[in-house]
């Protein structure tokens, strides 16, 4: 991997981290309607996967989707505006945090129904196959989602039709307050791949380079018509599940241990030590990112809310 790429990865991860910190702050100021599910702590997954994707590749996202959007190349300002319910947001304020999409960059949208994205990603894979392009789809979902029937049905279909889908399970150990160990006997969700005859890989979800490599391999297989891969990224969310969750169900030591393995800090350290990148350069990037986020926030704050009657638009396609 060349330096430019490494730095780009760092920048993206930083963007996500700072973006989420800002969302958290704005939330405290009562500027974010509804609820939020922050991605902080899982940045390595979205970025490690998406850095293998082209603009015309697709992703399918979840309720915890800000990171996926940014990693795929969504604009910070329109993302933030959507989260604030503004007219200038990606979905004109209709979707909000849990339903961001940007079809112009292959971001096929987030669904707030846990597990509902897997069949949709499979369908995008089928579409690629039928259209005969060499695109791929990355489908993000959580450990909790892997107990939904859709997980089973969709991966099986992708397997038998050899569809170009990367099923990326972000195993952050919890689904709301429910620990993985309560709801499945397996330790490695990746092992479920064997039920469909496809490869399954468990990877350190806080190491962006590991993820990058695994996703690269899976991407190659996909583009080569060799079918889907199930990638399990073991990671951790830094905050509670949603708005008011203090996450007291997580043992303190566990939280501490994971925070020490912060994917961003680890990668920064690696860049400085093994990557031959200079601190000043990273500081510079950090400043740029902060500026970009500030300007996104300003854009979002300054943007108007949609007009109420716009609620009646966009239900049906144009042909009616």
């Amino acid at each position: 991997m060349d330096k430019a790429k490494m730095v780009k990865i760092y920048r993206k991860m930083l963007e996500i981290r700072f973006f989420e910190e800002k969302v958290f702050e704005l939330y405290g100021q009562n500027l974010v309607p509804g609820t939020i599910h922050l991605y902080a702590g899982q940045e390595a997954v979205a970025v490690g996967v998406c850095e293998n994707l082209r603009e015309d590749d697709y992703i399918v996202s979840t309720h915890r989707g800000h990171g996926h959007c940014i990693a795929k190349g969504a604009k910070l300002d329109k993302t933030m505006a959507e989260i604030l319910g503004k007219k200038t947001g990606y979905c004109k304020g209709k979707g909000g945090s849990m339903h961001i999409a940007d079809f112009s960059i292959g971001m096929l949208g987030a669904t707030a129904v846990v597990g509902a994205g897997l069949p949709i990603a499979t369908g995008a894979g089928l579409s690629i196959k039928l259209r005969g392009t060499d695109q791929v789809v990355a489908c993000f979902f959580g450990d909790g989602a892997s107990n939904q029937g859709t997980f089973h049905e969709a991966i099986n279909i992708a397997a038998i039709w050899k569809l170009p889908v990367l099923f990326v399970c972000e195993n952050n150990l919890y689904a709301m307050g429910t620990c993985q160990t309560q709801v499945m006997l397996l330790k490695d969700i990746a092992k479920r791949a064997s039920a469909y005859g496809i490869p399954g890989v468990s990877v350190n979800g806080n190491n962006v380079l590991d993820i990058f490599e695994v996703a690269q391999e899976a991407g190659k297989r996909a583009r080569n018509h060799e079918g889907p891969t199930l990638i399990e990224c073991k990671t951790y969310r830094h905050k509670g599940h949603s708005r008011f969750d203090p996450a007291t169900y997580r043992p303190k030591e566990e939280v501490k241990a994971w925070l020490e393995q912060d994917p961003l800090h680890q990668f920064k350290k690696w860049l400085l030590e093994a990557g031959n990148v200079e601190t000043t350069y990273l500081d510079q990037i950090e400043k740029q990112v902060i500026t970009a986020i500030e300007s996104a926030v300003k854009f979002a704050k300054d943007s108007p809310y949609p007009d109420p009657h716009e609620a009646l638009e966009d239900v049906h396609a144009e042909w009616r």
Partner: protein, 324 residues
């Protein structure tokens, strides 16, 4: 004009649209060359268009519809066959939360051109899990269009419109209609959504009936005619969009309305039609509205029981007589 069956009319629509548009493809359980559809609608299509475009699937209703959604938002025009309408219950999240809402939630960024074909209705003694009519559920979910052709002509024309459109369409067929015959033009044609058809003109009472019930309503109208009652039979052809104007003008003319539809009475199709008239045209009514539907029971297996719960000519005539 040619006379063909409803089943063949559907197949012609599929075949012609697939011929014309490469992005149109079919998926569903046992629609391919081994079985060719539980009701044989896709007969010969796998041979003609190949297994890739006429795609047998595992028994995974939710993922089938979901896959169609994913294909629809990435440039394809999928047509799903769900073997029995009762089984759409398994895919209801993908239908009602995903397909129906994606366009709206994402601020109009994308269309979801997707057709879900499925047979509803009773009459063949296959009991509670294979005989329901759930159109009312779909009507209740904004974003979905709901078509329910009652003739071969409409079957072909409405299906073509559905396929050419940009919205998810719940295309509700009826098991007992597949073998019925009717005339269709030789050339390409479509039937627009939202345009009701008066199947028989009359002036004493309006019978609004859907799908297979149109034929029962026409039969009732013929019998009533002998008694000197002039019945107008109206077929909405699509429930969403609904041709309110035609419904209301017919009620304005006749002053009396009987609504006939399979599916359970409570909160069913007949409820919405009655409500529209009670809200927008009550002054034209000279009598209570009558609803003829299934009583609120599951569909029983045994023939005498099933016959008892399904709406028929007799019950329609009785309803008409009660308000004439």
């Amino acid at each position: 004009m040619r006379e063909i069956t409803y089943r063949d009319a559907l197949r012609e629509a599929l075949s012609e649209e697939m011929q014309k548009d490469e992005t149109v493809f079919l998926l569903g359980e046992d629609i391919g060359r081994c079985w060719e559809g539980a009701f044989k609608v896709t007969k010969g299509l796998a041979e003609k268009f190949g297994d890739e475009r006429v795609r047998d699937t595992p028994i995974s209703e939710s993922a089938i519809v979901g896959a169609a959604v994913g294909a629809a938002i990435t440039g394809m025009h999928p047509i799903v066959e769900i073997m029995f309408g009762d089984l759409t219950t398994l895919a209801m999240d993908q239908i009602a939360n995903q397909a129906a809402k994606i366009r709206y939630m994402f601020g109009g960024q994308v269309e979801v051109p997707l057709v879900v074909r499925t047979p509803f209705g009773g009459g063949v003694n296959i009991a509670a899990h294979h005989s329901q009519s759930l159109e009312a559920w779909f009507m209740h979910i904004p974003g979905l269009l709901v078509a329910l052709p009652s003739t071969p002509y409409d079957a072909k024309g409405l299906l073509k419109t559905a396929i050419r459109g940009g919205d998810p369409v719940m295309f509700c067929e009826h098991k007992l209609l597949y073998p019925i015959k009717g005339l269709i033009p030789d050339e390409d044609y479509t039937v627009p959504f939202g345009v009701a058809e008066v199947r028989s003109e009359g002036k004493d009472v309006t019978i609004f009936a859907t799908s297979f019930m149109i034929h029962k309503a026409l039969e009732a109208a013929r019998m009533l005619k002998k008694e000197g009652v002039s019945v107008e039979v109206m077929d909405p052809r699509t429930l969403v969009p609904l041709d309110k104007a035609k419904l209301i003008s017919s009620v304005q003319k006749t002053g009396r309305l009987v609504i006939v539809s399979e599916g359970c009475k409570t909160a069913g199709v007949t409820a919405e039609i009655a409500a529209v008239v009670a809200e927008e045209a009550i002054d034209y009514l000279d009598a209570p509205i009558k609803r003829v539907a299934e009583p609120d029971t599951p569909i029983p297996f045994s023939p005498p029981l099933e016959r008892y719960v399904l709406p028929n000519e007799k019950r329609i005539i009785k309803a008409v007589r009660e308000i004439i």
